[in-house]
Amino acid sequence: MHVELARQAAGWLALTHVAPPPSGLRSRVLAAAVAVRPPSSGSASSAYVSQVAAFGALIDSLSPSQWSAPTVDGRSVGDLVLHLAGNDGNVLADLGTIVPPRRKAGALWRDQSDLLLRTVAQGGDDVLARPVRMAGKVPARRPLREALTQRAFETWIHQDDIRAAVALPLVAPAPSHLARILGFGLALLPGAIDAAGRGRAGTVRLALSGPGGAEHVVGLSARAAAGGTPCLAEVSMPADRFGRLMAGRVPVTPSVAAVSGDRAAALDLLTVAATLGCE
């Protein structure tokens, strides 16, 4: 009886219901689309794409009063979004892309992140190799491929800043994206230790746990090759926490990580790592 009633109802619904699209339509639509705009083949921007999506969803959800909430360093949420857009804009300017002016921070940020994503998608390897300004206290230019990872890093950290300002839980990047961001920072670390006047022979074993984590051997100077040099200390902490430490969002205290061996060497590494962020 119940089955019969349900079948009758389905019949009634057929009056107002249309069959699903034919199966061949899917491939025709995809072929027509890629014929007018080729798909991107690389994954260089995948971490940045993901952070742009997360950041965009977050700022869409903010109320007017949340836009003026103070963030960790006193800037309002709106000012922080403008700051992020400014650093994205520097990269675009170096690529020769002109962005139409916008008055609202959210619209400006979205226009610029759209343009950056589209430029990378259209440009291929040539564009990824072009040197562009990096964000940060020390002026530096690196290939766009690396700059994109830094854009992902900064977009994540400012998303965290805004989440903290409006009392939302923090969200770490996807494990593979976090690993890429950490790899980007760790590659800069030996040189930064030298620049801080703390370079020395030897390495530190950095055990980053949790999603995106891995074990890294970090040289304490860019001048000495890591292979064959003694391991002076071991530092263990969660991978996402180390990422936030690199951004200067986690204070370097004696208890910030589990340390064994040469504590001074370990703390030097952590102290310099905490300067790798871009404000």
Binding site: T16, H17, P20, R26, A33, S40, G56
Partner: protein, 195 residues
Amino acid sequence: MSDVRSHADDVRLRAMLVAADEDALTEAYDRHAPSAYALAARITGDPCWAEDAVQEAFVELWRHPERFDPHTGSLRTWLCMLARRRAIDLLRRQSAQRVHLTRLAGQAPVEPTVEDDVVGAAQAKAVRECVRDLPVLYRDAIALAYYYGLSYRQVAVELGVPEGTAKSRLRSGLRLLAERMSAAGYSAYEVVDAP
């Protein structure tokens, strides 16, 4: 699916589309083509034109994903709007062509009779009203399955419930709908399988 989660999905797909990620287009198609197609087919009354309208809507999304603003509406609404616009364009073109052909042939175009339209429209209206008045749990499941053409599995994803729950809501909703249509004096209509 909650509004927050579906908004986050729309923003994610938009960013991937701007980055020319083909997987995002495939995902958008699988999620929203049934709705866009159902709408275009209802407007044009012709499966071939509905296909053209859907194709043009998705090509437009792929070419200019930046024009979709997730802050003002969902990706499904945006795609349905594009498909609707294309469907109406196609109708207009066809309509102009038909007038032209009619003049050439020297006779009036064949249209469905007014009576056919009225009877069909009255029944369809009664069904829609009956669906609208169902308890919300059943109504949503039925609307997604029958008006937007989603499968049981897709209904479950959209509603954020297990597949078994989606299935039982559909069954209960259909039973209630049949009872109410019957109570309103409508006899059983031709039976078709659920999607």
